[in-house]
């Protein structure tokens, strides 16, 4: 069991003053999984990661990394970390910093290789303080993969990157996951979680509110959305259809959220002048919004 479990958090909580940053998280990550920790700012992602790395001690619950404490796993060089910000020395050169990090680990890859994987081989002699935000993120990425860790933890790795560098970043990341490394990354970009993670863990208000593959999370929100141009639409009639859950309009355009889109479609075509009809299934964003709204509703209920 312990040999295949990379990370195990059990009943972990953390309170900062009156704020319950993490309110009971259970999370188990198997070796080789690529897991996205998804959630809005303040959901507790960073605190969860800090506890997982042993930087913050949980109030309650236990944290295990490869069957031991986070500190032990780090001491063995099993964990590579890319922090969200800071964590570098501004007046050092890129090459100097990477050489130092290599010297602090027992089994690093050649510095040259890490620089090339991160796409910054040409920045070796540049000082950190002259780099753009995206370039600094690449240096942090190189620092994370340099020790050849079993587990890579990335806290919002693409913050401050433009679209193109973000794509390049994930391409380099992909090479690392292909080597069978276990990866946990926090993000608030749905698209990143959807495209790059085997498994999405959705956090909200310090709790895990959904956990599964991107497809499973999408499927948990059933139904489809029909979008059609309907001049002079009778909204009340749409709303009363058995397969329709919600109706919205934007001018002549009607958006119908449907539990049963087939029946609704049949009705539209037979009884209304609807044209330009599109049927789409829920994407991860819809699912996240629905789950978040649902958990917010439950919280209100439990308070009442």
């Amino acid at each position: 069991m312990t040999t295949t479990t990379a990370v195990s958090l059990t009943g972990v909580t953390k309170k900062y003053g009156p704020v319950q940053a993490v309110a009971g998280v259970d999370l188990s990550i198997r070796a080789g999984e690529v897991v996205a920790l998804l959630g809005p700012n303040g959901a507790g992602k960073s605190t969860t990661i800090e506890m997982l790395l042993g930087l913050v001690r949980p109030d309650q619950g236990s944290v295990q990394v490869y069957g031991g404490t986070p500190t032990d796993a780090i001491a063995k060089g099993q964990v590579g970390v890319m922090l969200q910000s800071g964590g570098i020395i501004e007046d050092a050169k890129v090459g100097e910093l990477l050489n130092l990090v290599a010297g602090l680990h027992t089994n690093p890859m050649p510095v040259r290789e890490a620089l090339e994987s991160a796409g910054i081989a040409d920045l070796t002699d540049r000082k950190m303080k002259g780099l753009s935000g995206g370039q600094k993120q690449r240096v942090r990425f190189a620092m994370a993969i340099l020790p050849q860790p079993d587990l890579i933890v990335l806290d919002e790795p693409t913050t401050g990157m433009d679209v193109e560098s973000r794509r390049d970043f994930w391409a380099s990341m992909h090479a690392e996951t292909a080597r069978g490394r276990t990866v946990l990354f926090a993000t608030h970009y749905l698209e990143e979680a959807d495209s790059y993670a085997d498994r999405v863990v959705l956090m909200r208000n310090g709790k895990v509110v959904a956990d599964g593959t991107s497809a499973q999370i999408k499927a948990s929100v059933s139904g489809r959305t029909i979008r059609a141009t309907v001049p002079g639409a009778d909204l009340a009639a749409f709303a009363s259809l058995p397969g329709v859950r919600n109706v919205e309009t934007r001018g002549d355009v009607v958006l119908l959220q449907c539990a049963d889109s087939d029946d609704t479609l049949r009705y539209l075509l037979n009884n209304t002048p609807a044209h330009d009809i599109e049927v789409t299934s829920a994407d991860l964003e819809d699912a996240v919004l629905a789950i978040s709204a649902d958990s917010a509703y439950q919280e209100r209920e439990s308070l009442a």
Binding site: L55, G77, L100
Partner: protein, 244 residues
Amino acid sequence: MNRDYLMFDIRRTLRNRRVLIFSILMPLVLFMIFGLTLPDDANEGGISAIAYVMVSMAMFGSMSAAMSSGGVIAAERDGGWNRTLRLTPLKPQAYVTTKVILSLLLAIPPLLVVFLFGLIVGHVHLDAGQWVTVALVSWLGALPFAAIGLVIGYVAKPDSVQPITGLATMLIAAFGGLWLPVDSMPSLMKHIAQLTPAYWTGLSSRSALTDSGLDMQALLVVLGWTVVLGFIGLRRYQADTARA
């Protein structure tokens, strides 16, 4: 100690030469003011006055150079560097040792320059054995201040670390008797002086110039200060996980 970390810090220090130059100039200027104005036959407790001032100023220079590491550490912490270190296998003891050794290296240039100045310009007469002993003991005297620099680096914020270090250096040097001999002060001042590590580093260094040999008690107090302050620095390092 981690060799790569030490080399990394040395390279950065050599790039930032202002600190280095300042740590040499300060004791040199003070040496000229206090030392070269003395009458030729002046002496203090059996040691020629110029040699006495030379040792004190060398100690002051090595002390301020060793303490200057606090500013660098505070700036590193402010940038969240300690988190990065904590997430590597680097042992806290290795970190503290590396920083203390760096401070010891920083203490060498002011010592050398003040001693050379004393030899060539001040005409201080010592035999070769005395020069070697006084240089080594003065160098070891930088140890407690290396540890103080470490502790200040963990207590101060980057914007206050310079004034704190400056003030601490001056107070310790003045009250510890590095600028003016404690023996010529009221006895209360002597009691206060004994509470500073500088008094003991000065005492042990100057004892290298006397016939009675090294003051082992003073050396032990110096090492005691180093161990206690080094331990405080170690604990501060272990407790520090602040975000950038």
